[in-house]
């Protein structure tokens, strides 16, 4: 499950970037909006889960469940609903690529 991380990130970035109009930093910028609570590049100090290196599919699936109200949450459903599916995919790809 964890092996194809690098591959997933390598594939997802150019595709998603293309879909969003070829801004290579879009995923990075979007992911940085999560870092207030999950720390820089997702390496949480305490309280919130660390999301650095989380497999892209796992994270995207989790975020989609939050967005669709299928996963219990205190605040994450409210954040996930603020982002498009394409944006959530970019965020998941970015964190998957973090070590």
């Amino acid at each position: 499950m964890r092996i194809p991380l690098v591959l997933a990130a390598a594939v997802a970035f150019p595709l998603a970037a293309f879909a969003q109009g070829a801004n290579p930093n879009l995923g990075r910028n979007l992911a940085a909006t999560c870092a207030n609570c999950h720390n820089t590049n997702g390496k949480s100090v305490t309280g919130m889960p660390s999301i650095a290196g989380m497999p892209k599919d796992v994270m995207l699936g989790t975020l989609r469940e939050y967005k669709e109200g299928k996963r219990p949450a205190t605040v994450m459903h409210q954040h996930a609903k603020g982002y498009t599916d394409a944006q959530l995919e970019l965020i998941a790809a970015y964190y998957a690529a973090q070590k």
Binding site: R2, Q20, N23, N25, L26, R28, N29, L30, A32, T33, A35, N36, C37, H38, N39, T40, N41, G42, K43, S44, V45, T46, G47, M48, P49, S50, I51, A52, G53, M54, P55, V58, T62, T74, V75, Q78, H79, K81, G82, Y83, Q87, Q98, K99
Partner: protein, 426 residues
């Protein structure tokens, strides 16, 4: 408690595999030829974040100076818990030292003037510094002159404690010294002001302290606004369930004058005597914004281009945080200042490389408030850039408040603080 909860959360979110990556600072790449210099003024939630992210995202190619007059960072968020007696000043104080690992040149000094035409910052202790772009994160300054009698003498005994630091300590001491059966009066200015839910959290914290240590004492909230400005139903539920008979709330009750000797505050209708008076005056962008000529709205706030946080009045000067003329439904919060900083850092890196900033920035906000020593409520929002309106607007369906207060969110609130301090300071 924390360790157990952390493990539970990690398992619950299948993030356990990632936890091994917790440690370690980001090492900067070998210094490359600098493409320019950014001076950041103010090391709070906005400025410190901007300094760090400019270094990270420019891969060390932008020289970054952070000018801060205080030796250490003291957080406003969580400082109400110091008033309640549940956290110490040490808990909310952090060093700027780790920013140096990112190549930020932290300078303890005070800006005395800004020459935007010559792109130079004048400083109190060292010689002038030139910049290519300037980032101002000046926070707020307090408009004591809007309240009659709130002069320098009165300010010695009537505190605002709306900037965490010595006043936080002094207000806590006043509360400790107050006799049981006394009244603490909290005056709230008309919105917009720094941290919309902050006053109501403060009332909870002090009521919690009274309930435990001085049960005959009262908290009287005099709010210049018609009603609680943030998380109203959640705060009112906490007041009713936890602090009945302790907290009294009065809306439409702007304090217009104070008499420090008589320990009296005055509204249009009443004169009210209290034992501890905590009067939070109206606010405006900090003095540095005035010096730079970037205040554009009502002599108080700084209008910005939301694609870059660049001032609408002065080219090459970016403004962050509470000092900005807020976009619709955007709170003046530490979390939001951190988001402003990242938006600005991304834009500045693009601009200094001869490219255009992203046309589709996003920001979000989460404000946690402790309604007791452990229970917390939040308000959250997500904002996207709207090209037609040329501003950030909330995304329909996103955000809102907690379903109810909970200890689980208490754990998240403390996690938020730890993580945002790490995000901004390394």
């Amino acid at each position: 408690m924390n360790r157990f909860d952390r493990r539970r959360f990690l398992q619950a979110t299948a993030a356990g595999a990632a936890s091994a990556a917790l440690a370690g600072c980001a090492a900067m790449p070998e210094a490359r030829k600098p493409i320019g210099r950014v001076i950041v003024v103010g090391g709070g939630y906005g400025g410190a974040t901007a300094a760090k992210y400019l270094r990270m995202w420019s891969e060390g190619t932008i020289e970054v100076f952070l000018i801060e007059r205080n030796t250490e960072f003291v957080s406003c968020p969580i400082s109400n818990l110091v008033l309640g007696g549940y956290r110490t000043m040490n808990d909310i104080t952090r060093s700027y030292e780790k920013l140096r690992d990112y190549g930020v040149q932290v300078i303890r000094d005070e800006v005395t003037g800004i020459d935007a035409a010559k792109k130079r910052v004048r400083l109190r202790r060292i010689e002038d510094l030139p910049y290519d772009r300037l980032v101002l994160s000046p926070g707020v300054d307090l408009m004591h002159d809007q309240i009659q009698g709130y002069d320098a003498e009165a300010q010695k005994t009537i505190l605002h404690a709306w900037k965490a630091g010595p006043e936080t300590v002094a207000l806590r001491r006043q509360l400790e010294d107050m006799k049981d059966g006394g009244t603490y009066v909290l005056a709230i200015p008309v919105a917009p002001y720094r941290c919309p839910p902050g006053p109501y959290e403060r009332a909870c914290q002090i009521a919690h302290y009274f309930k435990r240590a001085k049960p005959k004492s009262k908290v009287l909230i005099l709010d210049a606004n018609p009603d609680v400005t943030s998380k109203g139903p959640l705060f009112k539920a906490a007041w009713n369930d936890l602090y009945k008979g302790i907290i009294e709330y009065r809306g439409n009750s702007a304090v217009t004058a104070v008499d420090a000797k008589a320990k009296v505050v005055k509204t249009d209708f009443d004169s009210i005597r209290g034992d501890v008076l905590n009067v939070v005056p109206p606010q405006r962008a900090g003095d540095v914004a005035r010096a730079a000529g970037v205040i554009t709205a009502n002599n108080r706030w700084c209008g910005v281009d939301w694609l870059s946080m660049e001032s609408v009045a002065v080219k090459g000067v970016h403004v962050l945080g509470d000092a900005t003329l807020s976009a619709p439904a955007m709170p003046k919060s530490g979390h939001m200042a951190n988001q402003h900083a990242k938006l600005a850092a991304a834009a500045i890196v693009e601009l200094m490389n001869g490219r255009q900033p992203s046309p589709e920035p996003m920001v979000n906000n989460t404000c946690y408030s402790f309604v007791s020593d452990k229970e917390v409520v939040h308000v959250a929002s997500v904002h996207r850039y709207d090209a037609a309106q040329k501003t950030l607007v909330t995304v329909p369906g996103s955000g809102r408040v907690s379903a109810q207060r909970s200890e689980l969110e208490g754990v998240y609130a403390w996690g938020w603080a730890q993580n945002i301090w790490a995000d901004m300071l390394g």
